[in-house]
Symmetry: C2
DNA sequence: GAGTGGTCTAGACCACTCC
DNA sequence: GAGTGGTCTAGACCACTCC
């Protein structure tokens, strides 16, 4: 139920309830959820509040509205950029695999504007004993923002988890350029393929909630990785 | 001014007015636009209508809201997928260039589920007498939805403009897979380069407002094209 | 304290879908 | 005709920014 005295807006509370109902399977894929009028009675709020909650879930790609019919559960493939860890985790979970990370290199380097941790990781998914490597990530993290971050074990925890939990900084959006490259000796060896095949590289910056740059990153996608985008026109 | 008797919703009319004011420079980058209260008086509509129009422009990455301060013009680099025409036009305009399109092939073909127009276009930008080709687009457009669309001249008008103006269908979002490929003889000739270099290809579907697939598309980016993405984490 | 956007109420009339 | 979501009105109170 909704709590009108809490500081969390009613539409956010409602949004969470509906989202949970979708995820736990109370409302199933392709099903029409209760109408706005019905929810008005159930949750004792006005239609404006219901509609705001639903609109956000439509944006989250969980619901789709059908004029005259109702609102349907529709788990569309999201902006599925498997380059980041949250996407990574989802991707693995869908396939019933475990996300894994191997640290190839970790060092402190000086760039023109300060000290950075340079971290190179091979990332992929594991199913039973078989590991499939998907991306080769090189990150540059400013020590000024994250003092001592080089002490952590990045094969156990994701970089973003550590930023969240230990520094209270939340990576929020990324600006990436996407380039095609030819694989080299290193990518052949790491991803385990032969011949000259083209790969995709994404490079750019990751920003926190206030716009600060929290990471410079370069991701090379191996031949097994998929790269999908959903975009507005 | 707004026309309350037109079938176009007031918030869409208002949205177009504000967007035009931004594009033509009446409201400049970094400037605060008139407040919601002020617009209520100016356009004689309620705040709900104003807010809906503004919310959509925030989604379009033209405005940003600052609680307590106002709503600012903020032409963020969009999910800048220069693969589509609107992005294309913006891209060209920024660089003071003219978007150009050359139709390489146009034919009617039958696929398993009906007849399609297959359209191959080379697209790029022109500055004075020099043309820079950026992408090679192959589109499949269902004739069931767009009867007679093959009669138009696609070197003069964009495909999406024709869909809008003549069929009242608005391409709204795209689902794309992104793959690296090796260029071949054809891409070398068209984009004018030599040697074996990797390119980016995006392929997928474009959907209308109601989710119908309005186009299957494959875009090959030439060596001159940039591909940028802004994504949430 | 004045002005801004954020949330919410309580209605109204409409276009659309389904029967 | 009954039910659905789409648009819109006319208010209220709030948190936030700026002075």
């Amino acid at each position: 139920m909704l709590n009108k005295h809490e500081s969390v807006p009613l539409y956010v509370q409602l949004q969470n309830i509906i989202r949970d109902d979708i995820i736990c399977g109370k409302y199933k894929e392709g099903e029409i959820i209760p109408s706005e009028t019905e929810m008005m009675k159930t949750y004792d709020v006005t239609r404006t509040t219901i509609r705001k909650a639903i609109a956000n879930l439509v944006d989250e790609a969980l619901l789709i509205k059908l004029h005259g019919k109702g609102t349907m559960v529709c788990l569309r493939e999201m902006k599925q950029n498997i380059w980041n860890f949250s996407g990574f985790t989802d991707y693995a979970r869908k396939k019933n695999e475990i996300p894994v990370s191997q640290v190839l290199n970790k060092e402190i380097i000086s760039l023109n504007n300060g000290q950075f941790m340079k971290l190179i990781r091979l990332r992929g998914t594991r199913r039973e004993t078989h590991t499939k490597w998907l991306t080769l990530d090189t990150s540059y993290v400013p020590l000024a923002l994250f003092p001592g971050i080089d002490q952590y074990d990045f094969s156990e925890q994701s970089l973003y988890n550590i930023m969240n939990q230990n520094y209270n900084i939340y990576p929020q959006h990324a600006t990436l350029g996407i380039h095609p490259i030819l694989g080299d000796k290193r990518t052949k060896q790491l991803f385990g393929y032969e011949g000259d095949i083209p790969l995709i590289m994404a490079e750019g910056s990751v920003h926190g909630e206030d716009g600060t740059e929290v990471e410079k990153v370069e991701v090379i996608y191996g031949p097994n990785a998929e790269f999908k985008v959903v975009t507005h026109i």
